[in-house]
């Protein structure tokens, strides 16, 4: 009888072991298509495409999102590069503009060898609204003297009225206090240029009204040493015939717009 007395704990353990092995085997067999014909494959098969699509969508969206992140980073880099290139372009434009100005100055220098040229930067304007003068960045230390003529490549700007060591004040051709001996290019009629308003000058003391007409070019006269001879001052806009028959005047638009001045050329007579 002792033979039939079993240790059920051991029996169940062994049975459980074999059961687990059996389940594992069954599951392994189920991986094969015909392993378990009763398995509800149709259910998984019906749902699989939807899940597949969902998985695809999730995958695509994730990839797109990751791509977007990467794109954003690339875009930022491109923007920075773009800004840098734009800044470089501006610098290059400035250099080109400076180069053009220097070329003009060089040409002027060749055309007027009797003068030495000092290029100066415009730094300040007049305190009063009714006066048109500018302060420039060069002074007596650079050889600038009082009554030195000031020009640009386009025409006469004015002349120096006050000189400090490192700065000078110049009177613009539009200021009422200026006087420049001038000639009408076409007729050689002579007069004095004087400023009138911020954009106009007056050509005064013209002997004959027939010497001047609208559109005539006014240039510096032959009999002075402040400016190159025949250098443009402006164009006659309107003629004002004096009722007394003498001292006719003309309104002149200066060749140089003072509002657009960045640099000017101060003329020094060679000694």
């Amino acid at each position: 009888m002792q033979f039939f007395r079993l240790d059920f704990q051991k029996v169940f353990s062994i049975a459980a072991f074999f059961a687990v092995c059996g389940v594992i085997y069954t599951l392994q067999q189920a991986a094969e298509p015909s392993a378990l014909p009763i398995a509800p494959t149709f259910l998984t098969a019906a749902l699989q495409p939807s899940y597949n699509k969902a998985a695809d969508m999730i995958g695509t969206t994730t990839r797109q999102y990751l791509d977007l992140l990467s794109l954003k980073e690339k875009m930022l880099q491109t923007q920075i590069e773009n800004q840098t290139l734009k800044a470089q372009l501006l610098v290059m434009e400035e250099v080109r503009s400076e180069n053009t100005r220097l070329k003009e100055i060089f040409k002027l220098h060749e055309a007027h060898p009797q003068f030495e040229f000092v290029v100066a930067k415009v730094t300040a304007k007049d305190l009063f609204t009714d006066h048109y003068s500018l302060t420039i960045s060069k002074g007596s230390e650079d050889g600038i003297e009082k009554l030195s003529g000031v020009i640009t490549g386009d025409g006469v700007v004015g002349y120096v009225v006050d000189v400090q060591d490192h700065s000078a004040r110049l009177l613009l051709v539009t200021d009422r206090l200026i006087s420049i001996d001038s000639t009408i290019q076409r007729t050689r009629g002579r007069g004095i240029i004087s400023g009138q308003s911020k954009s106009e000058s007056l050509l005064k003391f013209i002997d004959r009204p027939q010497d001047m007409a609208a559109g005539d070019v006014v240039v510096t006269s032959d009999d002075q040493r402040m400016f190159p001879i025949g250098y443009p001052v402006g164009n006659i806009v309107r003629v004002q015939v004096s009722p007394f028959g003498v001292g006719h005047t003309a309104i002149v638009k200066p060749s140089v717009d003072p509002k657009k001045l960045d640099e000017v050329i101060v003329l020094k007579a060679k000694k």
Binding site: L127, F128, D130, H131, L171, S194, G195
Partner: protein, 181 residues
């Protein structure tokens, strides 16, 4: 500030502060404004300072400040010295006359007088120019814009002047006349 006040008397410090303020105003008007905004009419920053000093100083310092401002103005312009002087004198008398009409002198009154000076100085100067034989044109638009811009800055400048006065000279008898807004 305390170390400076130990080294220099407060009157000298106040003088230097106002001098610095006036020079800064003139340079801001001619150089900084021009550098940033070109030929756009700029506010007359020096006029409120002139009005403040003319109305808040004793007779002798007032004359010295008058001459000081006049000479400083001449360094920044090609304007005729005589015309500028006469315009300043006329402006001074106009604001002094108007000030005598007020019983007290508040910041608001100072702003009003500075605005009046902003109108009278260019007009009197234009009158001087008109009296000479040289060509004359008055830039109405420029002066009007300048006045409008000045109106925005005058209160701040006057407050600053008052602050300097209070810092260096708390016992200023004229200061008592100036009331808070």
């Amino acid at each position: 500030m305390r170390i400076l006040s130990l080294l220099m008397p407060s009157q000298l410090l106040m003088f230097l502060s106002f001098l610095f303020l006036i020079i800064s105003a003139l340079l801001a008007q001619t150089t900084v404004w021009f550098g940033l905004l070109g030929w756009l009419p700029c506010p007359n920053l020096w006029i409120p300072l002139f009005v403040y000093l003319m109305l808040n100083r004793e007779k002798k310092p007032r004359i010295l400040w008058f001459m000081g401002i006049y000479l400083l103005l001449l360094t920044c312009t090609v304007a005729s010295a005589m015309s500028t002087f006469l315009s300043l004198v006329l402006t001074y008398y106009i604001i002094h006359f108007l000030q005598s009409r007020f019983s007290t002198l508040s910041i608001f009154d100072l702003v009003l007088l500075s605005s009046v000076a902003n109108v009278t100085f260019p007009l009197t100067y234009a009158l001087m120019l008109w009296m000479t034989s040289l060509p004359f044109s008055f830039d109405w638009l420029g002066h009007f814009l300048s006045l409008l811009l000045s109106l925005t800055i005058i209160p701040a400048l006057l407050m600053l002047c008052r602050r300097i006065d209070r810092t260096f000279n708390p016992n200023n008898s004229f200061d008592d006349l100036v009331l808070e807004l």
